[in-house]
Amino acid sequence: MHYVLHYGQIAPYLPYLMGGMAISLALSILSFIGGMVLGLFFAVIRNEGHPVAGRLVRIYVAFFTNTPQLVQIYVIYFGLPDFGILFSPFAAVLIGMTLNAAAYLTEILRAGLSTVHAQELDAAETLGMNRLQTLRHVTLPHLFKVAMPALTNQYILMTLGTSMAAIFGVEELTGRAFNINSTTFRSIEIFTTVAALYVVVTFIATILLALVGRWAFRARVPVL
């Protein structure tokens, strides 16, 4: 074992890595927002109990939660061109991550929706709220208060999941790590640095989301 660690050779690349991190974060935030919109829609459909639409959502969730995200993106990026549908790597990863996140978020939000008591909805009706007001003032605050820890969790997992964008040639944090690895061959140094960056980023995200949850929904999100 005659290996000497040279972290100094990685240092000039730090701004380059930071740029990659911005792309990673953009990917995770965009797909989380997209997944939330779709997931909320699907969760409401499942909760309303429409026979056909509810079953379709169940099939969607079962399929996307039981297959790997990597292979889903493979199908979108390499498979769909067979049918003349071409995506850029970033778009393919974004679509794959959004569809995958939507399935997991549907489950989380549905579980949250099912904790809203019928009495709360009755009380809202007694107060003369219409459906939109009930949603805004009763259902959603309750939902987010209950689901906040699981949502934080899902966001962290999605941030880690963005690393697979590197496989499709998106130059985000992991992708840039591979680039630096192939120019400097300082593999251990670069990958441990990137691992540390992921730890820092997800830790900041956990704290920020805990603060947002506490401030906006009075949710108790454990940080450690």
Binding site: M1, Y3, A62, F63, T65, N66, T67, P68, Q69, L70, V71, Q72, Y74, V75, F78, G79, L80, P81, D82, F83, G84, P149, A150, T152, N153, I156, L160, G161, T162, S163, M164, A166, I167, T174, A177, S187, I188, F191, T192, V194, A195, Y198, V199, T202, F203, T206, L224
Partner: protein, 235 residues
């Protein structure tokens, strides 16, 4: 295009290719299973270290906390690469499969430790106090009072983590391990249409994962862990 794909199906599903896919599926399953069994054992020890009260164990406790918090926040791909290149640096001449087994075990230890800790903490302190009143030793309290009550809370989430982890092992294909995704890549480079091959791989993953996921939710109902006392999935 569709007729072209349908014409390709009999060419794809020759005995040789089917055996390749099935062997790869077995590797996928064993990667996750070994990871979770090792993870359950090591995660147990880690969570014991984290729950210990005595000051002598304080450094161990800090180490366990660091291990869990760091390993859960590093993408699997990066961990795999660190082990992959780290093995070469250390002169550890291991195959990609062995490295994949080691890294799945290391990662799942962190996640399972969190599940075990949540399960052990869900047992009410009054139970342990009652045992202390009856003059049980620490070992007796743990083995006969705490563990039997925590077990039904630990097992279902560990099982669902095992099912979740089956899908994460797809990333092991990046280290060249011949598992399901890698088998798909091989078939694709042999000239079969990407849509057909990867759709087959997706369906195979679904066939593996869906019954296990259903069994997991059955296990959860059967062991009778109520929704409120169930430990949260690790962050």
């Amino acid at each position: 295009m569709l007729s072209f794909l349908i014409a390709e199906i009999p060419r794809l599903f020759t005995i040789y290719n089917v055996i390749l896919l099935l062997k790869a599926a077995l590797t996928t399953l064993s990667l996750s299973a070994v990871g979770c069994v090792v993870g359950l054992f090591c995660g147990f020890l880690l969570s014991l270290a984290r729950l210990s009260q005595r000051p002598i164990f304080w450094p161990l406790k800090a180490l366990a906390l660091l291990y869990v918090e760091i390993l859960r926040r590093v993408p699997f791909l990066i961990t795999l690469m660190i082990f992959f290149f780290g093995a070469q640096v250390l002169g550890f001449n291991a195959s990609a499969l062995v490295i994949a087994f080691i890294s799945t075990s290391v990662i799942s230890t962190a996640f399972v430790a969190e599940i075990v800790r949540a399960g052990l903490r869900a047992v009410k302190p009054s139970q342990m106090e009652a045992a202390a009143v009856m003059n049980f030793s620490a070992w007796h309290t743990f083995w006969h009072v705490r563990l039997p009550q925590a077990w039904p809370l630990i097992l279902p989430p560990v099982f669902s983590y095992f099912v979740l982890f089956i899908k994460d092992t797809a990333l092991a294909s990046q280290a060249g391990v011949l598992e399901l995704t890698q088998a798909g890549k091989i078939l694709n480079t042999k000239g079969f249409s990407a849509s057909l091959v990867y759709a087959t791989v997706l369906i195979l993953y679904f066939i593996i994962s869906y019954p296990l996921a259903r069994f997991g939710s059955y296990l959860e109902r059967r062991l009778g862990a109520s929704r409120h006392s169930r430990p949260r999935r690790a962050v």
